[in-house]
């Protein structure tokens, strides 16, 4: 059986800059891979390439099929992208917004069928958004909006979920809740997750595998124990951190250099 994602020597050139350089990796079904690395390392660009939103050299196979030759609709049925700053038109209701996730399943000029409404309803129920179904998006809090966007991605019924900085707008507790939710969705719905993440401790605890990127290249790949080292974080992030291994988990703590 083919892997969920097979990425072979993918290079993305934007303008004259090579933003992603010869990245190769394979993501198995049900796996959660986190892309980490400093700002501008190419995390978001890789996600956009996976979703077919940017042209690239090399090859990306999505469940065995080449992304480059697939139609937009075919890709959208297999892969759902949750951008870092999703547009949430304030007057759409939660139900209407989640129904937009059904677009790849609805005929071009058609409207939603009962199947689409049921799929959206299930996504809404799954993310505990039932009480909000008829509320306008503009009246929701940041954490609630995050769940609504996840519900839209879930209604898309794609097997692969791409998350770009899923926790960047959330407080500490909401961050954990959101990632727990993604993890439980992954298990229940048998999803494959690829996420770009800033918080290294969280990335290490939730993802099965980390891909450390720097200037568009993969510089380290493996489990949190293998990838998150004080030396590599100093080298690529220019950060002074302590890495603590405890109870089989890895914690990355920023540490201020001693004043001179």
């Amino acid at each position: 059986m083919s892997a969920a994602l097979d990425i072979r020597e993918v290079t993305v050139t934007l303008g004259r800059a090579q933003v992603v350089r010869e990245v190769s990796t394979t993501v198995q079904r049900g796996e959660w891979v986190a892309l980490i690395g400093p700002n501008g390392a190419g995390k978001t660009t890789i996600l956009r390439a996976l979703a077919g939103l940017v042209s690239f050299a090399g090859e990306i196979l999505l469940e065995g099929r080449a992304v480059a030759t697939s139609s937009r609709r075919e890709i959208a049925r297999r892969i759902a992208l949750v951008p870092q700053h999703p547009q949430t038109p304030p007057e759409l209701t939660v139900a209407e917004y989640v129904l937009l996730g059904r677009t790849p399943h609805i005929g071009y000029l058609a409207t939603e069928t009962r199947t689409d409404r049921l799929a959206a309803e299930r996504a809404i129920a799954r993310l505990a958004l039932r009480p909000f179904a008829e509320r306008p998006l503009g009246s929701l809090s940041g954490g609630e909006l995050q769940r609504v966007v996840l519900a839209r991605a879930l209604a898309q019924e794609a097997q692969i979920l791409l998350l770009d900085e899923p926790t960047s707008a959330l407080d500490l507790g909401r961050q954990q809740q959101a990632l727990e939710l993604v993890d439980s969705l992954r298990r229940d719905e048998e999803l494959t997750v690829v996420s770009a993440m800033h918080d290294l401790s969280l990335a290490g605890q939730y993802a099965d595998r980390l891909l450390l990127l720097d200037r568009g290249q993969v510089v380290a790949e493996g489990s949190a124990h293998e990838v998150l080292s004080e030396a590599s974080i100093a080298a690529y992030y220019g950060a002074n951190v302590r890495v603590i291994h405890e109870n089989g988990r890895v914690f990355v703590l920023p540490q201020r250099a001693d004043p001179p």
């Binding site: 059986m1 951008p83 759409l92 209407e96 129904l99």
Partner: protein, 440 residues
């Protein structure tokens, strides 16, 4: 499950289509027992073929058990298992999970508004004819109704040969301008976009000026003008689109709008030059630019109705797509839309209809902006409501504006562009004050 399930009441008794047993059904209400049963797509298709409703718990559980034993007996890596996600066995979605579309009350209001303004416009004029008898006369033209008109032959002629073409044309043009305005606003995600944005106005103006200035002696400029204006409008938008695309701007709506500005500036320059050379045309070009329906006859209606019908239909069919586009190009693309092609299709449809409208009525400003924004402010920003309601309200609005244009200074006429702008400009100031709410 994240959600705490409440026990739903089961108010409906139903008979199972599979086994005939009676069972309780919450009929789409959340928390019904059927939400705990998950089935594969193929199994669900089988059940839907059996009945268009829920089955009883025993039967649905039976189907679920059968699936489980199927997947056990199959190879565990059966791709069918992972290729399709499972779905609820539930057959009826909850009523909260739907797109609102046009709220029925507003839909009725808009239809009444159009019918009312049509009747009013037919009744108003130098010879006043009662709206009631006009309605009766209109119904008498319908087959199978056997209603007799109470109007005299002269009155019939006044209503149906003189006033009706003008009123119908105003309705068609108003509806078209309003729906293309809302389509442009959606496609460019810019609340200030109007149907003339991409060079339609300048192109049509140039075409009309050329027709008036260079119409060969003997030919009647009146026949050439609409065709020439139409061709100019299409040419203007085509140039703007090609220019925008050549600088890579089709992905970036800002560049496309700038290309429209460039093309419009150029065409206006040519138009002004031609006018300077043929100063005797100034008056007729000027009066055409301001727009009006003074010379409308059934011929004009027949000329533009097909364009407007096709274009308005295409735009109406895109109302859901325009909601998807409101998420931005990137997200719309990630939902499977070919944004470039969709944008081209909508612009082509809106332009063809607008160009046809402009060809018979001249340049009538503001309708394409104030009508969609009024609908947004009053009803909803979803294009499922904005598109159909704009069509109706735009039609009624321009019919009423035309009544004002031909009555306030009767027997002379006010250019209709003056009327729409006179009411449109103050209104637009209010819209601008609220543009945060309209946020593109």
């Amino acid at each position: 499950m994240v959600e705490k399930r409440e026990r739903a009441t089961l108010p409906r008794r139903k008979l199972c289509a599979s086994c005939g047993a009676q069972f309780g059904c919450a009929h789409g209400e959340p928390g019904c027992w059927c939400e705990s049963i998950l089935l594969r797509r193929e199994t669900l298709a089988e059940i839907r073929a059996l009945a268009d409703d829920c089955l009883c718990p025993a039967c649905l559980t039976g189907f679920a058990d059968r699936e489980r034993s199927d997947s056990l007996s199959d190879d565990s890596s059966n791709p069918a298992r992972s290729s399709g996600t499972t779905r609820w066995a539930k057959a009826i979605p909850h009523r909260a999970v739907r797109a609102r579309g046009v709220p029925p009350a507003w839909g009725v209001c808009a239809v009444l508004f159009v019918l009312g303004s049509l009747l009013f416009a037919l009744a108003i004029g130098p010879i006043s004819i009662g709206a009631g008898s006009i309605a009766k006369s209109a119904l008498s033209h319908l087959p199978l109704l056997h209603i007799h008109s109470s109007l005299s032959t002269v009155e019939e002629a006044i209503v149906w040969q003189i006033r009706a073409p003008r009123v119908v044309l105003a309705a068609l043009v108003g509806g078209m301008l309003a729906i293309s305005g809302s389509a442009y606003q959606g496609v460019f995600r810019n609340p200030l976009a109007d149907p003339y944005l991409l060079g339609v106005a300048a192109g049509a103006g140039l075409g009309a000026t050329l027709a008036i200035a260079y119409a060969p002696a003997g030919s009647r400029a009146g026949e050439l003008l609409p065709l020439s204006a139409f061709a100019g409008a299409i040419l203007g938008v085509t140039c703007a689109y090609l220019l925008g695309r050549s600088v890579g701007g089709v992905r970036n709506t800002g560049t496309l709008i700038l290309a429209g500005v460039v093309v419009a500036a150029f065409m206006t320059a040519v138009q002004t030059f031609v006018q300077q050379q043929h100063s005797q045309t100034l008056l007729s070009v000027y009066s055409w630019l301001l727009g009006g329906f003074g010379s409308a006859d059934w011929h004009d209606v027949v000329l533009v109705a097909p364009y407007i019908a096709v274009s308005a239909t295409v735009l109406l069919l895109h109302r859901r797509i325009l909601d998807v586009l409101s998420l931005g190009d990137e997200e719309a693309a990630s939902l499977g839309l070919d944004v470039r092609r969709v944008r081209l299709l909508i612009v082509v449809a809106a332009t063809a209809g607008t160009a046809a409208a402009v060809a018979v009525s001249g340049l009538i400003g503001f309708v394409g902006i104030i009508v969609p924004h009024t609908v947004r402010l009053l009803v909803s920003t979803s294009y499922r409501a904005v598109m159909p309601l704009s069509l109706l309200v735009g039609a009624g609005f321009l019919v009423l504006a035309d009544v004002v244009a031909r009555t306030v200074m009767s027997p002379s006429e006010l250019p209709i562009g003056v009327v729409t702008a006179f009411f449109g400009a103050p209104f637009f100031a209010v819209v601008l004050r609220n543009s945060r709410r309209l946020g593109a």
